[in-house]
């Protein structure tokens, strides 16, 4: 059993529970994202795995070995800090060489390895630059090379893209993805940016308030969220207050209804929350099929590659995404009365709860 395994880890700071019974596994060679809002405890979990914090309860296994009581310096991990933590008084080269010098490797070996890494992170020519002479993205790469130099069994990154601007971030993220494909080290990175997580992680571990919300591939998380939190955190989603009666879902203040098929154990009636992604909201001028809801267009926004349409549906305001062709073809106007169809939607009980999941598969196409 290799890779990283976290078992029932908890950590309290004074009277605040930062990490509450967290457990997950990252297989060898996988790159996982610890995703969650600020203050959710994800950085703490990462630091516990690294050995920079000790858990109050639980175990950490690295490549099958129980390292819970081991100090950070003995765990042979690579850690990239949010603000890089480069040694300011050392050149890029010396920074990268540090871990090897600590291991007392020969000068020749160190020189070779450092040169390899400089090449790997594409910083050729910057060997003798000090951190203050490097850009954010470059510092990031030095930090990465430094962490990789002693050939750690595991790579941990704490908000690696947090301090960079958008363009650099995108490039770097993709670059780390490629790097990971090449060197196959088991890795976890912490982020609050779900786009990043979706883009480069093999597996996403969603954390909220110190607890694991859901674990899965980006696709699983996006398509099959287990709770309202997950659905609204990852990707955009319309949250609509509704209520269920028998086999229909009604939205307050709007005419029309949506079909509802209860499964074993689901509620038959009561208040509910309807979750629909903007791209699954279809708009038509005709009320032809069962399952349409009446609404009024309140705004049309150009977004470059698509249009965003805001609708008032009963007491709710929802968003729809429509591609350029369709938009130009249909020529929507503000104030128009239209019919909205939800191609794919999920219904949760009113608290957005975890266990009353009921998903409707794609059933309705859209009508002209």
């Amino acid at each position: 059993m290799s890779g990283i395994r976290v078992e029932q880890v908890s950590k309290n700071f004074k009277d605040f529970t930062a990490v509450d019974d967290v457990g997950f596994e990252v297989k060898e060679g996988e790159l996982a994202a610890l995703l969650g809002p600020s203050g959710s405890g994800k950085s703490t979990i990462l630091r516990i795995i690294a050995g920079l914090e000790k858990p109050d309860r639980g175990q950490i296994y690295l490549t099958g070995q129980d390292v819970t009581t081991q100090s950070a310096r003995k765990r042979n991990i690579g850690f990239v800090f949010q603000h890089y933590a480069l040694f300011k008084h050392m050149t890029a080269e010396k920074n990268i060489a540090f871990g090897l010098e600590v291991k007392k490797k020969s000068k020749k070996e160190i020189k070779k390895k450092v040169a390899e890494l400089i090449d790997l992170v594409k910083l050729n020519g910057y060997n003798h630059h000090y951190p203050t002479q490097l850009s954010g993205g470059q510092r990031q790469r030095v930090a990465l090379a430094r962490a990789l130099a002693p050939e750690p069994r595991v790579l941990l990154l704490d908000e690696p893209f947090g301090s960079l601007d958008a363009k650099v971030r995108k490039n770097l993220a993709q670059w780390i993805r490629d790097l990971h494909k090449r060197i196959h080290v088991t890795g976890i990175f912490v982020t609050h940016d779900q786009d990043e997580a979706m883009e480069i992680a093999d597996k996403i571990i969603l954390i909220n308030r110190g607890r694991v919300e859901q674990i899965g591939t980006p696709q699983e998380i996006y398509e099959s969220p287990h709770s309202k939190f997950v659905a609204s955190f990852v990707g955009n989603v319309n949250v609509i207050d509704s209520f269920i009666e028998q086999d229909s879902i009604f939205i307050n203040g709007a005419a029309g209804s949506i079909p509802y098929h209860a499964s074993e154990g689901d509620e038959e009636s009561g208040n509910a929350v309807l979750l629909v992604r903007p791209e699954e909201v279809s708009i038509s001028r005709q009320n032809c099929k069962k399952g349409s809801i009446e609404g009024v267009i309140t705004g049309l926004y150009y977004r470059g590659s698509y249009y965003e349409i805001h609708l008032d549906v009963g007491d709710n305001r929802i968003k729809s995404i429509v591609n350029k062709d369709e938009y130009l073809r249909l020529q929507w106007q503000e104030g128009e009365r239209v019919y909205a169809y939800f191609k794919y939607y999920k219904v949760f009980d009113a608290s957005g709860g975890f266990h009353k999941v009921h998903a409707m598969l794609k059933q309705y196409g859209y009508i002209e």
Binding site: K54, R57, T69, S71
Partner: protein, 289 residues
């Protein structure tokens, strides 16, 4: 289920403070703290206690009678006057200097800035010597005043100038970095709102540096009260004429009037403590940016 944690003696965890075993590392820590405390006590605490003890030993009445003599009172008065002068002048000019250095650019600015630190680096006796040469009866400037029969050296003016010199850097050094880092944008905002430059300074700039300013002024006061070497050289230490409190202490001591010396010293020591408190308080205040 509480996890039982065991550590080998060399293990470090800077963040885990619940363990009950005393590791080698903790013992080393306490040793260091102990050594530092010992050094500190030897150097500061014991001597401080000693002076209190010495003066109180002879009784409070003797202490008061020593302070109450005309020459003693005159010495304290002189110190007060000179200090006031130095504080007022160096506060105003120190602020001007800081504003000029922070907001204006001109050739030789860097050079002039480093000159400001000179009073810190120079021995007070050497400083006094410089002023004797410059302001003495045969000096470049002194000869003018001599012709008009105004005495600078061996008189109050000389002492004031010497004190000005040694206390020059304090205010400037305190507010210059603050002005450099902050305030330009606020001043510009004030300008766009139509405020005059004086108004801007008084209502926008000054409040932002007030704690640093207070801290600098306090240091100036402390230094001015305690100034000895430069003033000694420049004044001739003439009792009842050019003898400040510190000069008096020295004078009494070398005349073997120990009680007189200690009494005056105690007054200054108490004053220093009060000032020290202000120094501490203001330091905290000014650092809260």
């Amino acid at each position: 289920m509480r996890l039982k944690q065991t550590f080998s003696s060399g293990e470090l965890t800077s963040l885990y403070y619940k363990h009950k075993w005393i590791s080698r590392e903790t013992m080393g820590r306490w040793l260091l703290v102990g050594a530092v405390l010992l050094w500190f006590s030897l150097l500061v605490l014991f001597p401080l206690w000693g002076i209190v003890e010495e003066t109180v030993k002879k009784g409070v009445t003797i202490f008061i009678s020593n302070i109450n003599t005309p020459s003693s009172l005159h010495a304290f008065w002189l110190t007060l006057v000179i200090t006031l002068f130095a504080v007022v002048l160096n506060t105003i000019l120190g602020t001007i200097l800081a504003v000029v250095f922070a907001r204006q650019t001109f050739k030789g600015k860097l050079f002039m800035e480093s000159l400001i630190d000179l009073p810190f680096a120079v021995s007070p006796v050497v400083a006094g010597l410089m002023f004797i040469i410059l302001f003495g009866p045969n000096g470049w400037i002194g000869s003018w005043f001599n012709a008009m029969n105004i005495k600078i050296i061996y008189a109050l003016p000389g002492m004031m100038i010497a004190t000005l010199f040694v206390t020059l850097p304090f205010v400037v050094r305190e507010i210059l970095p603050v002005l450099r880092e902050f305030g330009r944008e606020q001043e510009e905002a004030a300008a766009t709102l139509g405020a005059s430059r004086w108004n801007t300074f008084w209502r926008v700039t000054l409040p932002s540096i007030k704690w640093g300013l207070a801290y600098g002024i306090t240091l100036t006061i402390a230094r001015s009260i305690g100034e000895f070497g430069a003033v000694l050289v420049v004044s001739g230490s003439i009792i009842n004429k050019t003898q400040t409190a510190t000069l008096r202490i020295h004078d009494q001591f070398t005349d073997f009037n120990y009680t007189g010396a200690f009494s005056a010293a105690l007054v200054l020591a108490i004053l220093s403590f009060i000032i020290l408190n202000f120094i501490q308080y203001l330091y905290q205040k000014k650092e809260v940016i």
